[in-house]
Symmetry: D2
Subunit: 330 residues, 4 copies
């Protein structure tokens, strides 16, 4: 059984990754790093870590120490710039949930992330692990962004069938998508009874989507007064083949992504707390446009769930081992 070291466990994605590793039948948790919690009893982070005398992970350690474990699997849940400069293990699989290794062109980090990438030469060694479109390869895997995952699941299989300059995406995310950072824009007094467009035309998932699709799209994200869940409404023009048929064919055998029947709208409530995604396809008869809507959980298929799915593929486990694919249909 591969031993796992988790780096940056106290953030939202870190906690979700921890949850998935603890529930995975083929992964063994070995070390948990968190600079803010280092030295504390691991149960402070998750009561499962110190139960019934098991105590496999008695203390939380620093991120540097967790990196130095050189575990079979290192899961990075650090902020972008910290992940870019982390001292990576020299062996084992490394999967990075930040954006630090997703873009091949280092110059784009200046523009979209606001920092000069410290290891531009190494970016070519990372594969972009989006299982349904570009399965992970090699030992270094960049896990896609939550918005990028939703947009690419919706549009990836259609890239050659649509007018490339017609694509407009409006997306909405729950507040866990904004991270644990304390900002005026994450204060509940601002968020409640509000919906907030942000980084209009400038979100850092834009170049990642363009790199994967082969062309840029116009993308506007909004923050919602919900805790978790993400919806991407993708609007395209096509004069070619039946877009619904293309998507149904592409996902016919998937256990993770589901194309909904005609007329059924994707809903956060069906994908929240799961690692799956759903797609709805709608024709707009008056404008020759098609609307493809993707719903997923930003912390599930949009982060930790996809990381585990990538690990499953790399290690030859069942693709859905340890994933939660069914929500309770509230």
């Amino acid at each position: 059984m591969p031993y796992v070291s988790l780096v940056g466990a106290a953030g939202y994605t870190g906690q979700e990754a921890l949850d998935r590793v603890l529930g995975h039948p083929e992964l063994e948790l070995y070390a948990v790093g968190s600079d803010s919690l280092a030295g504390q009893d691991a149960a402070a982070l998750d009561p499962r870590l110190n139960r019934n005398g098991g105590k496999r992970v008695p203390r939380l350690i620093t991120n540097a120490a967790a990196l130095a474990c050189e575990a079979d699997v290192t899961i990075l849940c650090l902020p972008h710039e910290q992940a870019a400069s982390a001292a990576l293990p020299s062996r084992g699989v490394v999967i990075d949930l930040s954006g630090a290794h997703r873009l091949h062109d280092a110059a784009q980090y200046d523009e979209w992330y606001g920092f000069v990438h410290p290891s531009p030469g190494g970016l070519g060694e990372w594969s972009y692990g989006l299982p349904e479109l570009s399965p992970p390869e090699g030992r270094l895997v960049a896990n896609p962004g939550c918005y990028a995952t939703a947009v690419l699941l919706a549009l990836g299989p259609l890239a050659d069938a649509i007018d490339r300059d017609s694509v407009v995406v409006d997306a909405m995310s729950g507040m866990t998508g904004a991270g644990r950072g304390l900002k005026a824009s994450t204060h509940a007094g601002f968020v409640l009874e509000n919906v907030s467009p942000y980084r209009v035309g400038a979100h850092q998932h834009v170049p990642e989507i363009a790199q994967a699709l082969g062309f840029p799209v116009s993308f506007t994200p909004h923050l919602l007064p919900v805790r978790r869940g993400l919806l991407a409404t993708c609007n395209v023009r096509s004069t070619g083949p039946d877009l619904r048929a293309l998507l149904e064919e592409h996902y016919a055998s998937s256990h993770v992504v589901r194309v909904l029947p005609e007329g059924v709208v994707p809903e956060l409530s069906r994908v929240q707390h799961t690692d799956g995604a759903e797609l709805g396809v709608f024709a707009d008869r008056h404008t020759d446009r098609t609307i493809v809507i993707c719903a997923l959980d930003n912390l599930g298929k949009g982060a930790a769930g996809q990381a585990v799915q990538n690990l499953n593929l790399l290690f030859g486990f069942a693709e859905t081992a340890g994933l939660r694919l069914e929500g309770v249909l509230v």
Copy 2:
């Protein structure tokens, strides 16, 4: 002072219209109709209606009775189909907050509203009262829909400057926009922690937008877990003039619509509980597209506030008399 009869006072728009009339310095409330509350003490609907011995409106009456008042102003806050077949007063101003008299082409009611219009011949007598673009004329005024108002405020002044087949609008509304009707989709257990696209490509405000702009747009509405407020994110391509400049010029003298400075994002919290609207303009440098975002209160500028603004123009009152234009900047 014009006497006002309000028809359909128990719905969301009816209550907001009542609130505006009660607070208006130049309008006198004369009758309040509500089939569900007829016969009850008016204070059951709003305590201001029976205060301090004033008792101008001691009892609520039926909608038919309120219509028969032949008041100087009749405000219709009825469901679409009911408004279409209402026995209208033969005199005075009639302003209809439903969609029953907004479309010139009666055939469109079959397609978008699901009923055969009972008075197709009379539709031509109604003006579409959107003060900033098409001020009300004559005694019969159709008050625009909430989504249509937001989209037209954003795109109306740009109609000749943009590629007409490039327009994509995604809009989001608070739950009061869905009306008081009890449906599975308005149950709080469904709405909370959710965001719900609906009537994708089929919403009844689509033909109204097309009629006013002169061309159709692709429009996808979503329901948000907020009580009130509406955001329309409008995405267009233009190779011509500076769209921001066009909007700033158009609204330079408006006290109701405000174009925000560069970089400032429209927010529900600034327009909720007001009758104003704000516009943000953002260039998407990678796709030659411009994003114009409009925020307004679906019950304010999107309904009752606009109705009062229309009345002010028709009667020659100050345009903003009785309007609430400043929110508390929570």
Copy 3:
């Protein structure tokens, strides 16, 4: 493996019970009844019901048919009055998630539930299955109400140590606790940005709490703008033993109920989507009172999770088989 028939599967508790049965290692689903969905493909209710050719439950059947199955376990998720008059199976375990069989004194149904109980004589055959206080006995089990569960977990072990006329409970529930029924009070336009006390002094869980404790408490429930989760703030006076110590001792070996360390406040976010509960104990130094706060998920430990826990005990399975006891600590 016991075969299970689920009656009333389309409501909130029905769907949660279905979820737990599907994920239980020792229970086999046999029949799913729903009068509103009878005849439909079972996948309409939950996609797991028709997956990969399994099709153990191809069609949803009527509730009468599901009752007539005479399964090893019949789970009733019907409205109170319907459950009271249901034609119960003559064999097997029957567990009723409604309130129809919780009260021993039939006369109380008139007062608190508003209907005359059709089978007053049979009420004595039902045990009240609250595992931590009164484990289920016999083949007929009344599953406790969600509020009652929270209050009894907090106060049951303290009943002999507190002033009986000092007890005041204020409780708050998410909207799934109000059921799927469409009422003005469940409309999202009413619920959002609101908190709503209801049935003050008259909630039907009051007699159930009194019956279990041996004395009445003053109980005020409120509905919250959250989807799921329940918090009961129980305030008592005691001049006797250390209440925290009593609770810690009572739950020392429980895997379901956890007494939090001093100073730690129970939170919905840790118990939502789980079948566990947590208790916090706080001294109010200025009034000689103690505040015991219980948090649980109204659909988990407050309904379906507790039903499964009861079944586990009756069948001799591990007490926590099929339960979800760890949430993700968002």
Copy 4:
């Protein structure tokens, strides 16, 4: 017309106070202080401050400068400890919306507020301005806390009629009640889908309530996932007079506080965005207890609205001048 200097204008209560002063017919705004915004154009805080060439308040100044104005009215909207040590004007009315001057016994600041009061000798000069119970006197007025206002409106008129050791209050506040400070507990990812008891038995409004009532009550506050509004559920035992009658008599002539008819429950939605309050009274027939529920807006009657009401009384204006007393009944 009295000139007003507002100190600490950028917080929630500061902005609300600003709003009330701007809308008040008898108050003139003279200076606006905010250390975080000092030097900026006043329109950055509120667009009304720089409109149409009015520019009475062209620039925001520091709090020290605003205090030094020695205006006719100084409104303090500072954090508690800052207000306690502020250099107060030597003339004019000073009204303090913080807790710094509410308690007569300086020693209680150590215990409940966590700081040693810098001017213990001066506390006796401040009156506690709760118009319905203890109208403001003199030129120094401590404006009551939001929770304290709700509890005292409910229980003040009953203090002599109830068992003093029977009182239990559970209260819930919207997130603006927690202030603009960025804390883990105000992050929307924590607040959404949650309800959070806090400072159990230790909230700083407890001694203020005890001082006004003459005896302590057991008080547990909770934070709600709503933006604004506060509900206090007050549970008392009484063997004496009819509590409803006492309240109805006490508030018979009030334009600010309304006792609701029997069976009607107070609701946030009717008091949000207003400066009024409503009370509901409910008998709990099984425990000889009475539940009095008060709803108000934490920023209205719970802060800025009450401050203006106090000023109206001090200056001899109409008690409700500049107040908003009617909400829109969504």
